[in-house]
Structure formats: C-alpha cells, structure tokens
C-alpha cells in the first residue's frame, strides 16, 4: 500500500452567515479522503453538495474550521500564509470556467510565466518552460503572444492545464474542468488529463457532477451529498452497482445517448424517486 499523498481527516468548513448571532453555514460536515501519488479520485455530487468546497479547502481558499489536511506529511491548515504560498509548487488547480480563470488582458505567455516568475525563474528559462508547456497541452507555440479571447473554450482549458503544470505539481485540484465544454471537446480534454497523469505521475482530485466523466478519468470515486461523503469505492464498482440510494438516483439522472435505453432509465429513475418519496413520508410519520 502506497502512502497517501493527501490525507483529509474530518474536515469541517463553515461560512459565517449574514446577520447577527446566526449559526454559520456548514458546507462540509467532517469529510475524510485519501489520495495516493499518481491517483485520480473523482468527487461527484450535485451543486451545493460541498464538492467544490472540499477542493477549495485543500487549496486554502475556503475557511477550514475543523479537522486536518495533510499533504506529504505536512499539515496544511496550520500553515502561515507565507508557507502556504510555497505550497503552490506542489498543489495546483484547474477551474471550471475557462472564460474567467484566465486574465483577459494578459497574453497566454504572461499567464503561463506568472507562476514561474513568482518563484524567480529567469526570463530565458521561463520562456523555454512555457514553450514546453504549450507542447504538452498541444497548443501551437505562437499562442504566447495571443490573448485569451482569441481561443475557444477547449483551448482555454488547455491553457489553464498548462498553467497548473508549470511548477511540476504533485496534486492538481480539477474543479469541474470539462463541464463548460462541448461533448467532443470534453472527450479530448479528458484524454489529455489521463495522458498527463500517466506521464508525470501527478495526482488529481477531480470534482464533477457527471458520472460518465468520473468513470473516464478516476481510479476511485467518492460521492458527496449535503456536505458528507455517502459512498466511496473503486470506479468500476460505484458506477456499475451503486449502493447508496442517492448515488443510484444520480446515476439514473444522467441521460444515455440511446432513445430506447433512455426510456428504461427514465422509468427506473421515476421508480427510485417514488421509493424515496415513500420512505420520506414514512420517516415523517414516525418522527
């Protein structure tokens, strides 16, 4: 058994609510998760389930109020902001929206060189590295002088991936990186993610609401619901025989590209919803 690279233990994230003396909003209610080096763990759930918050907690962008996050044996939650900044070379991010995650007034070259120059990499070395990065994500080398608006969504997401790879990180948080893309672009970007992982051994925490996407890229899956992980396991198991009723419903909600099969799936989903409604009613009657 390989030592986990990232160890998340009973993490609680609370956002202060508006108003005086109101209870803070608990986005994560004690979540634990491990990611091993070179592993891709898919995190699925609907919006508001806390899956994005978990990613942001690891990145230091969400207020962690309890539990621990250890990266390579070092406690992230106890770090000063200076130490935390140093972690940028180990933990990186690719955001969902390729339109707002790149500064519209900076050229692609400047965007990619930014993490390098922040670490005092020389101009020449930075240029060479940027060229290398562009090649890795298969963008033409003349992209360096261009602005983000000249690129399509899929291409922008490639730029965002290149930026994440700039410092050779060991973990990349992927926050719905393909949700805003077309199906055909999506497939190619996912292949790129897998290929990069196999070549560099970087680990992914892959946040998404799409179980098909998870099946394509992840080794293991964790399903989040209302701030908790309700099911986890090997990808093949969770996606073929989900156990938790929420996972089952989630699975049946995803439409299949086949009118006949989709009709069956729709009926199955209606049945699950009816079962759930009945259970809720009974629970209500008991309580």
């Amino acid at each position: 058994m390989t030592e986990p690279l990232l160890q998340i233990r009973d993490v609680v994230v609370e956002y202060p609510s508006k108003g005086f003396r109101t209870k803070p909003f608990r986005a994560l209610k004690g979540v634990s998760l491990d990611i091993r080096p070179g592993e891709c763990v898919g995190l699925v759930g609907e919006s508001g389930s806390g899956k994005t918050t978990l990613g942001r907690a690891v990145l230091g962008l969400a207020p962690v109020t309890g539990g621990s996050i250890r990266f390579d044996g070092r406690e992230l939650t106890a770090m000063s902001s200076r130490e935390r900044r140093g972690m940028g070379s180990d933990i990186q991010v690719v955001f969902q929206d390729p339109y707002t995650s790149l500064n519209p007034s900076m050229t692609i070259g400047d965007i990619l060189a930014e993490p390098l120059t922040a670490r005092d990499v020389g101009r020449k070395a930075a240029q060479a590295r940027v060229a290398e990065l562009l090649e890795q994500v298969r963008l033409p080398t003349d992209s360096v002088r261009r602005l983000p608006r000249e690129f399509s969504g899929g291409q922008r997401q490639r730029v965002a991936i290149a930026r994440a790879l700039a410092l050779d990180p060991r973990l990349i948080i992927c926050d719905e990186p393909v949700s805003a893309l077309d199906l055909s672009t999506q497939a190619r970007v996912l292949d790129l993610f897998v290929e990069i992982q196999e070549r560099t051994g970087v680990a992914y925490l892959f946040v998404t609401h799409d179980l098909e996407v998870v099946r394509h890229v992840s080794h293991r899956v964790a399903v989040m619901y209302q701030g908790e992980i309700v099911e986890r396991g090997e990808t093949a198991d969770v996606t073929s025989a989900p156990e938790h009723p929420y996972t089952q419903r989630l699975w049946m909600a995803s439409p299949v590209p086949d009118p006949v099969a989709q009709e069956r799936r729709r009926a199955e989903r209606q049945r699950l919803l009816a079962v759930q409604a009945e259970q809720d009613q009974q629970a209500g009657a008991v309580a």
Binding site: G38, S47, V93, N103, G154, D182, E212
Partner: protein
C-alpha cells in the same frame, strides 16, 4: 483536433497598440485631445506668446477694444485680456490637477485596500465616503475659506478630498469584482503574494475606469474653481479664468466681449476633458469597432410573394407550426465586411413535436434559434431565407409585430437561468408583467395565474417563490421559474436554448421531465438546441445535426441513433463517453526512492 481550428479570425495586435489606434480613429476624441495639448502648451509657453504682464494695469487701456496692441483688448483695470487668459490657464489647470491628484491618491489607495482586503477598513472607509458624498461641496469650500484663508490651493486640495469619495467607490467596486475572479484565485494558488496580485491583476483592471473618472473630475474641478472666483472668493491677486469672469460680468454692458473669453475657455476645456474621457472609455470597453446591423443582401422575391407562398405551404401541411427555408444569418465585421455563420438551413417544427438541433459550440445552432425569434445580438441579422409562421414571414416582420408574437406565440427558455432574471425585481413581479401585457389580465388575476404556473412547474411553495428575489433561489428553481414564464401565455412553440446545460444532472433530469409533461399538456412544439445526445435521446422526436452553419444530417431520433451516415454525426457519437471507457484501476507509480520497483516495471 477541431477545437484548434474553430477559433475566430485571430486578432494578433497587442492590446495597447490597438487601444491607441482606436482612440485616434475617434475624430471627436482626437480633436479634443489636440485642443487640450494646445491649451497646456500655451499655458507653459505663455511668456513667449505675449509680452504683456497679466498683472500690470495701464490706465489708457481700460476696456480697450480688441486689436491695437492688445489681441483681445484690455479689462476694467486696463490689463491685457489675452495675457490674463494665458496665465490664468496655468493656475486653472494646475488647480484642477491638484484636486485630481488628491482625489485619485486618497480615493484610489483607500478603494484598493478596502476592496481587496475588506474587513474593518472597508466598513470604516465606506462610511467615510458616504459622509463625504453627502456634504455639499460649495458650502464646505466656503466654510474652509474662513479657516484656511483665501488660498485657492487649499480650496482645490479640500475639493480633491471631497471628490475622492467618488473615486473610492469606483475603485472599491472594481477591485471587489476582480477579487472574485477565478484568475485571481489561480494566482493565489500559484503562490503570488497579495502585493504582486494587486500589481499584476488588479491595477490593470482598475486603470481604465480611473482614467475615465479623472477626465470628469478634472472638468468639475475647473468649473468649481471658476465658480468660487466668480463669486469673488478666490485670491484676486493672481489671474484666473474665474476672476476674469467676475470682471467681465461687472462690465457686461460696457464691454460684453470680456465675459466671452473666459467662458469660452472654461466651456471648451471642460468639454474636451469629458470627450477625451468618453472616447477613452469607448476605446477601452469595446474590443472591436462599433457594430452596425447587417441587412439582407439579396431579398429573394418581394414580400407580397413570400406571404402568398407561405399560405400555400400552410395549406400543404396543416400540422406545420414553423417552417424555416434557406435561413442565412450573418454578422457585420469590424472591417466592414459581413461574415455569414448560418448558410441557408431548412427546418420544420410540427405542432406537438420536439425537434432537437444538435451541434458543437460555434456550429450556429444558437444563432439559428435567435434568428427565428429575431433576437440576434447587435451586429447580427438575417441575410436571406424565410421563417414562416402562420402565413407570415417572420424574417420580414416589423419589430412591433414581432414583439406581439414573441412571448405570446413563440416563447423562449434560455441557457443561463440566473442571468435571465432581473435581480432587482421579485420573481412574482417578473411573471405578472408579461401576462398583463399579453393576456390583458388584471393584477390579481395575473397573480393567481402566476402562482398556479409555479405550482405547475413543480415548485413546492409557489407563494414563497413568488415573493422571493432571484438570488434567493437555486439555478434549477430559476430555470423552472423561466419555464413558468415561457408557458404563461400558452405559446404554440417553445424555443429552448440549451435549457439544462448549466444545471446538474439530477436537476437536468427533472427539467427534461417537466418539459415533456408540459409539451403533452399544451400540445406545444419545442425547438430544443443542445450539444448533448443524451438530452436528444430523452426528449426529441426528430433531430437535426448542425455543423459550421449547415445542417448535415436529419431524421427521426430513433433512426439517427441506430443509423447515421454523415462522418460528423459519427464523430459526435464517438465523443460520447461510454462504459467501455472506464479507467483502469489504480497502480502505484514508480517510486524513485525504491529502485527495485523501477527495475521490475521498466
């Protein structure tokens, strides 16, 4: 790799160079800029332009007419008007610059800190700004005069402090919105310090609005300053435009020209400052030159013909709701040409039928849908073809007639539910208004119907949602509200543009179920624009596959899924993730620290 080839024509000019070019292309801005430069140069070079001393009074030249040694004549004390105008602009411009500098430094810095770091400083400084804005400027300046004396510099500095509140609010607001951008998050993750983020990302965005605001502040400062001196509250020992106004006003019957020169200068300089600021804003905000609408290039047949043949078609097939024939859509390009993006498509929607229009982004599917409703964004237009609806060609209908059809007969459900609800009105108000206009219902009737509709689209507490504001509901709920609004006037055709793309899979399934049941109830036709074959399989009766402005394949949904011919359709199907693509289980990577594993795998 088609996502590499589908970009728009590349714009390789660097951002700053094209900014200067755009600025120079605006004639009004250019003239104003040249005028300001001339005024500044004249102020600096005043001693070279006139040999008269602006403060020396010559008894013989009192109220002298223009010409004869004095270009613009003499004033009430016999001083040279032209010299006073030149020297006066020195003080007027410097005073405005002082006020501007104070306002930008104080307002800009505090706005930056308040917007970026927030917390107590934000609360405190926002309060201070509110107080400053509430103070009447003129009154404060009059009060200040009794404390610090007649020094006009002090007055301008104090006025700068008053103006700093508006700069503060502008900067704070801009910084706050930049701060929440994902690219700032990304920079933070990359390990950039706050100072670096401010310099690299934040200042760049704040720069433009500050420059624009500066133009307005400077002109206000000049006007206020002139006003103070006109009232005789300035330092009368130095020549200024305001004191010249004062003098001219007192002698308006004896020498009416005296008041003309300073007024002209003040008006022109203020105008030029505002115009330069305006054209700067235009240059900074628009990424391309102003768009003009495109007109049909080759109208095929007179409009009378179109109507006649339309009725023929209607007679042919009573079930047809909408028939699109050879629709071409184009956009005006900055260089004056027209770029066609939909190249003559045919499409038909029958009553009670769901037709899917599927394609990748950039295929023209959304543009076709917008063209059918005549909702194309600025610069876009229908170049040719017909959109036949109940015997009318919508492509030729006037905007007024179209407004009557849109919303009532043809309704629309957008992709982004949140951005299609006005955040400042309650959901109820937004539902009631169109029903009153289209159906002529009373307020109470419309209200009852709106609540009914909300219940119909599956909202559990319709009364609560009716009273809620858009930000208080989830994205899925917002989409239900928009669907409720779309069906409120019982339309015959619903155009849904990627109605579930922005939603979760679970919510997507709910919305698709809702659309299906509504379509059954109202016997509506639906034109569903999507890129998801799963959605097509779920809802559509027929489907048309669109690629680069053409429909490449069409047929009944079941047929297309079993048997498709066009390579592009095959390519789209191949891109769908299927269970066969499941990733192999995890294998620990080679550990550089343990050499034996390296040997075993290599």
């Amino acid at each position: 790799m088609s996502d590499l080839t589908t970009t728009l024509p590349a714009d390789t000019r660097s951002a700053d160079a094209s900014l200067a070019k755009r600025l120079l292309r605006d004639p009004l801005g250019l003239v104003s800029l040249v005028f300001l430069v001339v005024v500044v140069l004249a102020a600096v070079l005043a001693p070279l332009l006139t040999q008269h001393d602006p403060t020396v009074a010559v008894l013989g030249d009192v109220l002298a007419d223009p010409g004869d040694g004095h270009l613009l004549g003499g004033d009430s004390a016999g001083r040279d008007v032209f010299a006073r105008l030149l020297y006066g602009s020195r003080f007027s411009l410097l005073g405005a610059a002082l006020a501007l500098g104070v306002a930008v430094v104080i307002g800009g810095l505090s706005g930056l800190v308040a917007g970026y770091f927030g917390r107590w400083f934000d609360t405190l400084s926002s309060g201070a700004a509110a107080v400053l804005m509430a103070l009447p400027g003129m009154v404060v300046l009059l009060a200040a005069r009794s404390v610090v004396g007649t020094s006009a510099w002090w007055a301008m500095a104090i006025f700068g402090i008053l103006l700093s509140a508006s700069v503060f609010r502008l900067v704070r607001q801009t910084v706050q919105s930049v701060r929440n951008e994902l690219y700032v998050d990304a920079a933070r993750v990359a390990g950039l310090s706050d100072l670096r983020i401010i310099f690299r990302h934040v200042l760049r965005v704040v720069r433009a609005p500050i420059i624009i605001q500066a133009g307005f502040i400077a002109s206000v400062a000049i006007a206020i300053q002139a006003g103070l001196e006109f009232l005789g509250l300035g330092d009368m020992s130095i020549p200024t435009w305001g004191s010249m106004l004062n003098d001219g006003f007192a002698r308006i019957y004896q020498q009416p020209l005296l008041i003309l020169w300073p007024s002209l200068m003040i008006a022109l300089v203020c105008l030029a400052l505002t115009l330069v600021a305006n054209s700067l804003r235009d240059a900074l905000e628009s990424t391309s030159s102003p768009r003009r609408a495109v007109a049909p290039t080759s109208p095929d047949g007179a409009s009378g013909d179109a109507t006649a043949s339309a009725t023929n078609h209607a007679a042919d097939d009573a079930g047809t709701l909408l028939r699109v024939e050879g629709l071409r859509v184009g956009y005006a390009m900055p260089d004056g040409s027209t770029k066609e993006i939909v190249h003559g498509i045919d499409l038909e929607v029958r009553r009670g039928e769901v037709v899917g229009l599927i394609g990748e982004s950039g295929s023209g599917k959304t543009q076709s849908a917008f063209a059918i409703m005549k909702l194309l964004p600025e610069g876009g237009g229908i170049l040719g073809g017909r959109v036949l609806w109940k015997g009318h060609d919508l492509a030729r209908l006037s905007e007024r007639d179209m407004t009557r059809i849109r919303g009532k007969e043809i309704a629309y459900v957008p992709q982004e539910p949140m951005s299609n609800l006005d955040p400042s009105f309650t959901i109820g108000a937004q539902l009631v208004e169109p029903m009153r206009v289209h159906l002529g219902l009373s307020r109470a009737q419309a209200r009852t119907r709106a609540v009914e509709l909300l219940r119909r689209v599956g909202i559990n507490q319709p009364e609560r949602v009716f009273r809620a504001y858009p930000h208080e509901v989830s994205g899925g709920m917002a989409q239900r509200v928009l669907i409720a609004g779309a069906i409120s006037c019982e339309p015959e055709l619903l155009v849904a543009d990627e109605p579930t793309t922005a939603l979760d899979v679970t919510v997507q399934a709910d919305i698709l179920d809702l659309l299906r049941s509504l379509q059954d109830d109202f016997d509506m036709g639906i034109l569903l624009v999507t890129h998801n074959f799963g959605v097509v399989a779920d809802l559509c009766d027929r489907v048309a596959v669109m690629r680069e402005g053409d429909i490449v394949e069409r047929g009944s949904t079941r047929d297309i899924f079993v048997h498709h011919e066009h390579p592009y359709t095959t390519q789209l199907f191949d891109a769908i993730l299927t269970p066969e693509n499941t990733r192999q289980p995890y294998r620990a990577p080679d550990q550089p620290t343990t050499p034996h594993t390296e040997v075993s795998t290599s």
